[in-house]
Amino acid sequence: MKVAILAGSLEDGVRIARSIQSLSGVDAHLVSCRVRNRNIMFRWGVESLRFVRGRSLMKRFRFLVRLAVRGRLRVLGESLEHPESLRRLKELNCDVALHAANVIYRQGAIDCFRLGILNAHIGILPEYRGRCVAEWSMLQGDATGITVFFIDTGIDTGSRIVLTEQVSLVGHRSLAEAKQFLFHQCARCYRKGLEVLMQPAPILKSNEVEKGHRYYPMSRLLSAVVEQLIGAQS
């Protein structure tokens, strides 16, 4: 299965690529995407800073060089919707893409991949769509976790769910730490999602959007309540 990782930062892209590299039958390509129309100097400045700040710098750097040497690293100079970017994505001829670019995709980009684009959403679908879903789940006493699903142009409304995994956030001392932990589970969940898709007849669940709600950024007031609840159980 040929997989493209659509990454807004090399750091995130490398984390996912390393997680899926040992998966038998997967040919991973890292696509560095231009997000929020940042100019090239700013983009590479931020990229470099983020990259060197992470752990195991040399390992990640070597991994990145290896990808580049093997022709598995692409850098998009334009936004994902730009015809040139779409042409280059189509040219890759990938079966599936993994979302790590912090953008909302239009149909043109989704159609560049045979199966579509997978998103590892840090909430349980269909109930928790939108923003701050980990916080909202904790606030309302529901399970926290990750849902890997095929996106459409809506907000977490894609109809095909590949995988749902509950992830407990007990033991974390703060909301930021708990969310960071959850985000770091995404690469592993992508790997599991690809394993499901590579089965002979994968069974996908339906995302019954009408059974859930869309959530929005949480106020400082309720975020403080969530912090308090996390503190009480750590």
Binding site: W136, M138, G141, S168, V170, P217, S219, L221, L222, L229
Partner: protein, 232 residues
């Protein structure tokens, strides 16, 4: 052990109630004393009465302005008065003059999105001559649309401090309507839209629209919800 098991539902509700109670006191302290009726023209008397409501007397709290049974369930409330008149009556805790009638056809979100600024206010006021109808069972999908507009489009304007780019009358009319929905649904999602906007409001700020009184009106509804929040 999951959060729900360790903290427990009652405990979680208690923490939320305490947070809302603290916000209520903060709101009254910040806005009760600084709402100056003089700046509100013809609505000065109305704003003055809200100012009095928000001034905390020792040990007293603002009562719950609307019980859940005040809202229409399947029918529609017809009122001979207009939307703004009825909204002010609700905020002041006065009895509305209404009759039950059949609901109008649903207002399609896709249609509403295409309207111009002035058409949007007009449409909202025309449809919700009795503003309680926004919380009728058949209107919840449209209330969701208003919530999305507030928390996506309007929120962006607030976060960038581009207050001038927003239509203040429309913004605060939507917040008033969302507050009414919250009285009916007791939904934290709807309630938190108000928490969010409250946090972005500069202190002593007053909107630029023709109906600036919609801000104190919303404040009063929000304060009543905060003071009486309970999901049980």
């Amino acid at each position: 052990m999951e959060l729900s098991q360790s903290a427990g539902q009652p405990n979680r509700h208690k923490v939320i109630e305490i947070a809302f109670s603290a916000r209520y006191e903060e709101l009254c302290a910040n806005w009760g004393a600084t709402l100056l009726p003089e700046g509100y023209g013809a609505a000065a008397q109305f704003v003055g009465r809200i100012g009095k409501k928000l001034k905390l007397d020792a040990g007293s709290t603002l009562p719950l302005l609307l019980a859940q049974d005040a809202f229409p369930v399947s029918g529609w409330l017809f009122s001979p008065y207009n939307c703004f008149h009825n909204l002010r009556s609700i905020v002041l805790g006065e009895t509305l003059c209404t009759q039950i009638c059949p609901p109008p056809p649903p207002l399609e979100p896709t249609y509403f999105r295409k309207l111009s600024r002035s058409e949007r206010i007009y449409t909202l006021c025309e449809r919700y001559t009795c503003p309680l109808n926004i919380a009728a069972t058949g209107e919840i999908a449209f209330a969701e649309e208003l919530l999305t507009e507030l928390m996506v489009h309007d929120r962006r304007g607030f976060e960038k401090k581009c207050f001038a780019s927003l239509d203040h009358d429309e913004l605060f009319l939507k917040l008033n309507l969302i507050a009414l929905v919250t009285f009916r649904l007791r939904s934290l999602r709807f309630m938190d839209a108000m928490n969010y906007f409250y946090e972005f409001l500069p202190s002593r700020w007053s909107p630029a629209g023709k109906n600036a009184w919609l801000l104190p009106s919303w404040m009063c509804l929000y304060a009543s919800l905060l003071a009486n929040w309970s999901q049980e």
